[in-house]
């Protein structure tokens, strides 16, 4: 129980730190958000700008802004985006659904693909096919993501004309969604898979050298069944941690894929918010991502406790 309390404390501390960072970082950025609000080539008098600044609460002292910010947070009010003309919470709710769909499917596919191939490649690392797969996945993980996305787009959407160029759908039907999401999901899944692959491979190589694997063989298990009956469960433990860590990366890291495929997701939201200094959106989405990662980490801890009996040893 003691450890659990410590963990909880650490999570809470992390959360508070994130909230503070979240508040401070966007405000440190240069540029006058009011000007960004008005738009290019428009003449506005100082008085009007001042008025707007007041309206946005940007000219109050920092600590006042901070208390107001915390207060709003407690009311689940993430503020209002003057760029996107909606309450941030609403925007986030809308976008998150899509990003979850997009990222979720990719992560699941990637995890499944990476784990399976990685396990097999780790089991027989010396075969040609596995060496090739390993090279391939390493190469994949070493490619800048946007480069891969653009290449995919050129080949499959432009050259072969199999998939559309942009958007989550053309008309909101499952068919259209599937058709539109195919390429971005493939790209993301490949990335996710390459990470999982390398870890799984290393993990299996390490685990299969353990004594229990040898004992499994001594019990009469044969070749690949040792992998599936004994090694894989041990070896996939680190994947749990990775998936949790991945979560944040995938939320924000989908950015490049989203830009290339013109997807209206969290990644582009964050990117636009940074570029446009849309404080409320920036804060809101950072908060959501950080919370998601925290949550994922907590879940990973739990999952770990369930999957690994070494952790939940009874007193």
């Amino acid at each position: 129980m003691h450890e659990a309390a410590k963990k909880t404390f650490r999570y809470v501390a992390s959360f508070l730190l994130i909230v503070t960072l979240n508040f401070a970082l966007p405000r440190l950025m240069p540029g006058d958000p009011v000007k960004n609000l008005i738009g290019e080539d428009v003449y506005v008098s100082e008085a009007v700008m001042e008025e707007l600044r007041t309206e946005m609460g940007l000219n109050r002292p920092l600590y006042e802004q901070f208390t107001a910010y915390i207060g709003d947070l407690l009311r689940f009010d993430l503020g209002y985006s003057y760029h996107l003309h909606s309450p941030v919470a609403e925007i986030l709710r809308e976008r998150i659904v899509w990003t979850l769909l997009f990222v979720g499917v990719s992560v699941l596919l990637g995890a499944a693909l990476g784990t399976l191939f990685g396990a097999y490649a780790g089991w027989k690392p010396e075969t040609k096919a596995n060496r090739l797969a390993c090279c391939g996945f390493i190469a994949l993980s070493c490619t800048p993501p946007y480069f891969l996305a653009l290449l995919f787009l050129e080949i499959f959407a432009f050259k072969l004309g199999l998939f559309p160029f942009k958007g989550f759908y053309d008309v909101p039907t499952p068919g259209s969604i599937a058709h539109h999401m195919f390429l971005p999901v493939t790209v993301m899944a490949l990335f996710s898979a390459s990470r999982n692959f390398l870890i799984m491979r290393g993990s299996v190589i390490q685990e299969k050298g353990q004594l229990y694997a040898l004992y499994a063989r001594a019990k009469g298990l044969y070749d690949i069944s040792i992998l599936f009956r004994h090694v894989i469960k041990n070896a996939s433990l680190p994947i749990i941690t990775l998936l949790a860590l991945d979560f944040g990366f995938l939320f924000s890291g989908a950015l490049f894929t989203e830009i290339v495929f013109s997807l209206n997701g969290m990644g582009t939201l964050i990117y636009d918010a940074i570029i446009g200094k849309d404080y409320p959106v920036l804060q809101g989405s950072f908060l959501v991502v950080a919370l998601a990662v925290l949550l994922a980490n907590m879940l990973a801890d739990l999952a770990y406790a369930i999957a690994d009996p070494r952790v939940r040893r009874p007193a």
């Binding site: 353990q210 004594l211 229990y212 040898l214 004992y215 499994a216 063989r217 001594a218 019990k219 009469g220 298990l221 044969y222 070749d223 009956r229 004994h230 469960k233 041990n234 433990l237 999957a307 690994d308 009996p309 070494r310 040893r313 009874p314």
Partner: protein, 348 residues
């Protein structure tokens, strides 16, 4: 009594590591071949306990792994290992897999690591049952759909019978409430408990040959005597032959029917325990016994030679108190006389 296992001229060598050692001693580590076991011949009769005794690094565990064919594929194994008349080294991996766990079982020296940390004890104990009864199920699968329900029932029954078998096995190794322990995981239990689980798992299918690889290593005195009783009980109750590999002379003395002493990859002496311990022939055996506490910790000077570069002639000659000139040049053979064998020119 029939001979169950006959090992003849077993040679096991490992290809050394070709890349240079990080510590800088390039010349020493280059392309060396480690011959872990050379010209080893032993036989085990049915219901017999043969002990293989020797110090760390003398190659005794390699023998065990060679018999089970658990050595990595890169190792070079020569000679014959005949088990019930079949040469194990000639069997295919699949055929060997059928033997492992069913006919020949092994208990590893480190029970906590030999058990899979993420599966429950019950699951792991039942595993040999599942593995070695699978063939039946395959046949069932050929049946048609109408048999599916029956099959399911049978499977459930099988699972239940498996469970009861497991709990019986656990009881046998001294757990009064096996059902509770079946839900435990290896990391929750002490080394001694794990040792017993391991024994239970390995003897689940009443193997003809049980190999115990340093079972007493790392255990407390109390635990060792428990283990001793365990093995004694096993010997009495079942038809199992035991190949006991250990460095603990006292332990061996109490359990073995015959003892083989190994030094630097070779067997230097084979004898029954009483004659071995009372009148050891080989100078190494003598030295070894003298360094025991009860004989006043009289050490053998020097250290064991590296297996990668054994001395010429008798491998023990650099440390031998009674060596002669020929000991340094010629290699002695294992000479047998009235039930004992010894590898020394100077011993009758």
């Amino acid at each position: 009594m029939n001979t169950l296992l006959e090992v003849k001229d077993l040679n096991v060598s490992f290809q050394g590591n070709e890349n240079e050692n990080k510590t800088g001693n390039k010349s020493e580590n280059k392309n060396e071949t480690v011959t872990a076991v050379s010209c080893l011949s032993i036989s085990i009769r049915e219901k017999e306990t043969l002990a293989l005794v020797g110090e760390t690094g003398c190659g005794k565990s390699v023998v065990a792994h060679a018999i089970m064919r658990l050595l990595p594929p890169e190792s070079i194994v020569k000679g014959t290992i005949e088990f019930k008349g079949k040469n194990l080294l000639k069997l295919s991996e699949k055929e060997m897999a059928k033997l492992r766990g069913k006919e020949i079982s092994i208990i590893f020296q480190n029970p906590s690591l030999a058990l899979n940390p993420v599966y429950s004890i019950g699951h792991q104990l039942a595993e040999p049952l599942r593995i070695h009864t699978q063939k039946m199920r395959w046949k069932e699968k050929e049946g048609k759909k109408e048999k599916v329900k029956q099959k399911e029932k049978r499977e459930k029954k099988k699972e239940n019978s498996n469970l009861s078998k497991v709990s019986r096995a656990l009881k046998r190794v001294g757990f009064s409430n096996p059902r509770e322990y079946m839900g435990y995981y290896p990391s929750w239990c002490s080394g001694g408990m794990n040792q017993r689980f391991l024994i239970a798992a390995s003897t689940m299918l009443d193997p003809v040959l049980l190999i115990a690889d340093e079972p007493s290593k790392g255990l407390d005195r109390d635990r060792v005597s428990e283990l001793e009783n365990e093995l004694k009980g096993l010997k009495e109750k079942s038809e199992t032959s035991l190949l006991l590999i250990s460095h603990d002379l006292g332990f061996v003395r109490r359990l073995a029917d015959r003892v083989a002493v190994m030094y630097a990859g070779e067997i230097v002496e084979i004898a029954d325990p009483s004659s071995l311990f009372e009148s050891p022939l080989h100078p190494y055996t003598r030295g070894l016994l003298n360094s025991l506490p009860e004989r006043g910790f009289v050490p053998i000077p020097g250290a064991s030679p590296p297996l990668s570069n054994p001395p010429a002639g008798c491998r023990f000659h650099p440390r031998c108190p009674i060596k002669e000139k020929r000991c340094t040049q010629e290699r002695p053979e294992l000479k047998e006389s009235n039930g004992r064998a010894v590898r020394c020119f100077l011993c009758p």
